[in-house]
């Protein structure tokens, strides 16, 4: 199975000193049986990465909290669908969180309100979160992102952290859509090897 060691996934943030704790995959199994204490322990482990990732995409504080809460409830509702044979627990949680955030960002893109947010998201453009404290894990991600080509990095980060589709990324960068999707895949392959998350 994939990486599911709690400690490898610990966000190591000062706000969550007790984050590592019991293996997340084990806890999800208990949550699937309706164990509310296990759900509380899961929330303690995932709240910071879930909220941080959503905040980074959605930007707006109130709406980020709203989406983060939806994600935690999704985890409760669908814990029985987590299959440890198909990937780590944190990858499963973050997939749910990212899709929720993407849904929110794309529905905002349909409204004029998105304009200003897009502008404010572009200005302090930086590969990895700005204000949060440095950590070993974060440094490693930053270093690995730095090892990509410019186009690979832009393609991956515009899609993942800003919620753009690959066709939008292509328009944004003035590059053919086919080039963008191969750069996304090449970039993820390089990140996978750099972060050593191969199975």
């Amino acid at each position: 199975m994939g990486i599911s060691d709690g400690h490898l996934w610990s966000p190591r943030c000062p706000a969550c000193p007790d984050a590592p704790g019991i293996d997340l995959a084990v806890l999800l199994g208990q949550v699937a049986r309706g164990d509310q204490d296990a759900f509380e322990a899961v929330c303690r482990q995932i709240a910071a990465p879930v909220f941080g990732a959503i905040r980074r995409m959605v930007r707006d504080r109130c709406q980020s909290e709203e989406v983060a809460q939806e994600v935690l409830i999704d985890v409760w509702r669908s814990a029985s669908r987590f299959d440890a044979g198909r990937g780590s627990a944190m990858a499963w949680v973050m997939m749910i969180a990212h899709r929720r955030a993407v849904d929110r960002v794309r529905s905002e893109q349909r409204s004029a309100e998105r304009e200003l947010r897009a502008a404010s998201a572009m200005i302090p453009y930086d590969d990895v979160a700005e204000t949060v404290e440095a950590s070993l894990d974060r440094e490693r991600v930053r270093r690995c992102l730095g090892s990509l080509t410019e186009l690979q990095r832009q393609a991956v980060t515009l899609a993942y952290y800003q919620g753009y589709t690959y066709r939008q990324v292509a328009g944004l960068l003035g590059v053919a859509a086919g080039t963008v999707n191969t750069r996304m895949r090449d970039g993820l392959i390089r990140l996978r090897d750099c972060l050593e998350v191969g199975r």
Partner: protein, 264 residues
Amino acid sequence: MRAGRPEPHTLAGAYALDALAGADLARFERHLARCEHCAREISEFREVTARLATAAAAEPPPGLTGRALAAAARTRQLPPATRKDAARWPARHPARTRPAGSRSRAAGLLRRAWVPRLALAVAAAATAAAVLLGVAAGTAAHRIDEQQLRGHAIMAVLTAPDATMLSGRVTTGGTATIVMSRRQRVLVFAAAGLRPLPSSKCYELWLMGPGGDRAAGMLPDPRQGMTGPVIASDLKAGDHLGLAVEPAGGARQPGTTVILVIPL
């Protein structure tokens, strides 16, 4: 192969980044259902993107977990997946439904005296964004034309034949303006001069009517004193629009601090 239709396999990266939409997504998911290699690659990519996510970890707001626990206690859980569901892991959750407003349609001529004012505010935001984008990233400036077209849902309300404008004073300060189309059962809300809130509180819109109260969305942070526009859809006869100060993350029912009520 037709131009503009990439080899499905090369889309594995875009899929893992949730960067596929519409027909691209449907086509790739059909391919994925019979491509073991793709499924393996995507599951590795999910481990990568999870690291991108955890690298952005930030201190969650106080009370987030508490509210999730309370909501979980009244939320029914899904049964374990059947074999068929499991084969589709990671399955997409159903798209979140939001008050999305009416269908886009070509914005017609502005019909009413007040429309230019609101339209101007929307256009001004777009222009400001274009300028900022131009400064921040020269290559990005051209995309604003595309994004301007996305204001259609709002423009469709502003230019609806039966559009009506209402406004009200917010008791804690500021004014709210709504433009509503009864026929489309949609309204656009905007406010000016709302009092800033502590980080533990948010402004939330409510539709309050005989059939019960429905949350209609959290207001975004104000920009230059302006808040919105926010679209609320699915209006019902007898509804009132309410604005309330709620705990960050929203409430189940409008709280005691409803600071604006507008009969619709």
